[in-house]
């Protein structure tokens, strides 16, 4: 199977601080990949390099077989339709209500009238499990879990093939977090999405992700949970054998 996102020999550095040093990474269609790494290891920089918000020093980023670094503006715009991004803390437009937040990309890119755009937006809002009352609310009036759901609805507005999630469950209570995990799984399975999740939430990682990419030594090691558990690299070992990881794994084995 050909990868839908492929990164080869990526180099990134800020001043003297090297973030990525010859990083290779691939995501295959239909899978859910979790990306973990220490704070400041360059996970968000990697995400920004993929979605074109940051231009890497060198290397290639290929999406759906096309090198996005060789594209002009119009081509990048067309490729952007392929993915939806859920930013940390939602990044909803604070002056627009939830419906307008979701309808905005539809109105911008699709030839539909106002009514149809609103209707599609409302459908997306219901799809992510938000109650009808939430449509007319401003982001500041929503709870943390609802903000993430609304942001997911906006990320899904243009029916993307790939979904990038940057710490989707951070700061949520365990109930909302696991409900959000379920939602992501359900969306990915039913809509056939490819999902890349940056997360620190071990529950998300172990319950939702098919494969786990670990960012160590400015590169990425990808594998299943089982493979990572056997890995001798000190950081990976500590990550997957730390007390928190053990607790989550133990809980999974009990059930």
């Amino acid at each position: 199977m050909k990868p839908i996102v492929e990164i080869k020999n990526l180099h990134n550095r800020f001043g003297r601080h090297v973030v990525h040093d010859g990083l290779d990474f691939a995501v295959y269609p239909g899978e859910i990949v979790g990306l973990v790494g220490g704070t400041g290891a360059g996970k968000t920089v990697l995400l920004k390099s993929i979605i074109g918000l940051h231009r890497p020093k060198s290397g290639t980023v290929t999406i759906n077989g096309k090198n996005i670094m060789r594209m002009n503006k119009a081509q990048v715009l067309a490729t952007q339709r392929l993915w939806g991004v859920l930013f940390q803390n939602g990044a909803l437009f604070s002056s627009l209500n939830v419906r307008d937040n979701v309808a905005m990309p539809i109105k911008e890119f699709i030839a539909v009238n106002e009514e149809q755009a609103q209707e599609l937006a409302e459908m997306k809002i219901e799809l992510v499990g938000l109650p009808p009352e939430a449509r007319d609310k401003l982001p500041s009036e929503l709870s943390g879990g609802m903000v993430r759901r609304a942001a997911l609805a906006r990320a899904l507005a243009l029916d993307p093939k790939i979904l990038f999630l940057d710490e989707p469950t951070s700061g949520l209570d365990p109930i909302s977090a696991s409900m959000f995990d379920d939602l992501i799984r359900k969306m990915a399975k039913n809509l056939g999405l490819t999902v890349m999740i940056i997360t620190h939430d071990l529950d998300t990682l172990f319950s939702t992700c098919d494969r786990i990419a670990v960012m160590v030594d400015k590169k990425i090691k990808t594998g299943t949970l089982k493979e990572h558990l056997k890995d001798k690299h000190p950081w990976i070992h500590d990550y997957f054998h730390g007390p928190r990881a053990r607790a989550v794994l133990a809980a999974k084995n009990v059930h």
């Binding site: 699709i110 009238n113 599609l120 219901e126 982001p139 500041s140 029916d159 809509l191």
Partner: protein, 385 residues
Amino acid sequence: MMIYGLVLMNDKFIKISKSKEGSEITLYLLGKWLLEDVAEIERTLKNLDILANTKIIIDGKNLEEIDTSGAWLLIKFFRALLQQKINLKRTDFQAPHAKILEIIEHIEHPDSIQIKGFGAISNYFRNVGAATSSFIKEFYILVAFFGQICTTFATSVIHPSRFRLRSIVYHVNEIGIKAVPIVSLMAFLISIVTGYQGAHQLQKFNANIFTIDLIAISVLREMGILITAIIVAGRSGSAFAAQIGVMKVNEEVDAMRTIGLDPFEMLVLPRLLAILIALPALALIADIVGLLGGLFVSSNMLDLSPLQYIERLKEAVTVTTLWVGLVKAPVFAVLIGMVGCSHGLQVRGSAEQVGEHTTASVVQSIFLVLMADAIFSVIFTIMGI
């Protein structure tokens, strides 16, 4: 399009075929049912005219691709058919398509909650009422705020160690010293403008010399202090609102309270005392630079020597003229400082409110400054100054 008619539809998205007896119709879905074509697909579906009591089979095996938007149109179509009591059967959908349909099928999409509107006239009265009540509320907030400042000030006077000297000095620098160039420039320009306009008019009466009176009196009594107050309101009053507002959004103000620090003592009082020191000083500077501007005008336009200018100045103004202007400075300072700080503390929740309150603080403080100036004018006239 009538399905029962002779014409059978053959479209990009749907192909229709009829069984021999004519009681069973099969709709073959074709092509890509994707978001970019929703408008066209919806039109196609609307044009289908299906009679009741027919049996319809929806065949999905030729469907190439469908996304949630296309699936939503299809599900809506199904529901409309069911409502007309049309017998519906789905066959041969590919597994990924069936999954998308399954997830969309759960969406009920109840209509938006309609907020009951008001008529145009009652809406007008409603707006007037809301504006009035918010105006009264703002006034009430300012009075309460002033009271709180006074009590905080009183406690600080009893315990002088509570005055945050370092903070006051910092704000005097920010409000006062850093504003000296802009205030001087504005005062200079204003007195040149007044001078040129005045000289032009007074020339007609051969009363050129009175241009100096015009400049000196208007700058000392009104222009110097007003220009200063407006600049300080725009520069520092807005900064107060923004700084304190951001601290509110970040919950820094709440954190302060839990440590046992009074935000009034920490944030409001130093700023207020600093503006009380800085604004009169700036006004004095504006007066001096304004008179220098007068000198510039008189030597360039009226051909008077500096000595003659000073001579005329002595006759035109007294120390009272200066005081009449400067006495307003502390009042304006308190108004600007209070409005800025109170708007900062009124910020609740989002960052957007910081912007709103910053704007409101500038508008409100300039309005209050001009209103106070008008009151001063009336009082001075009654007093005969």
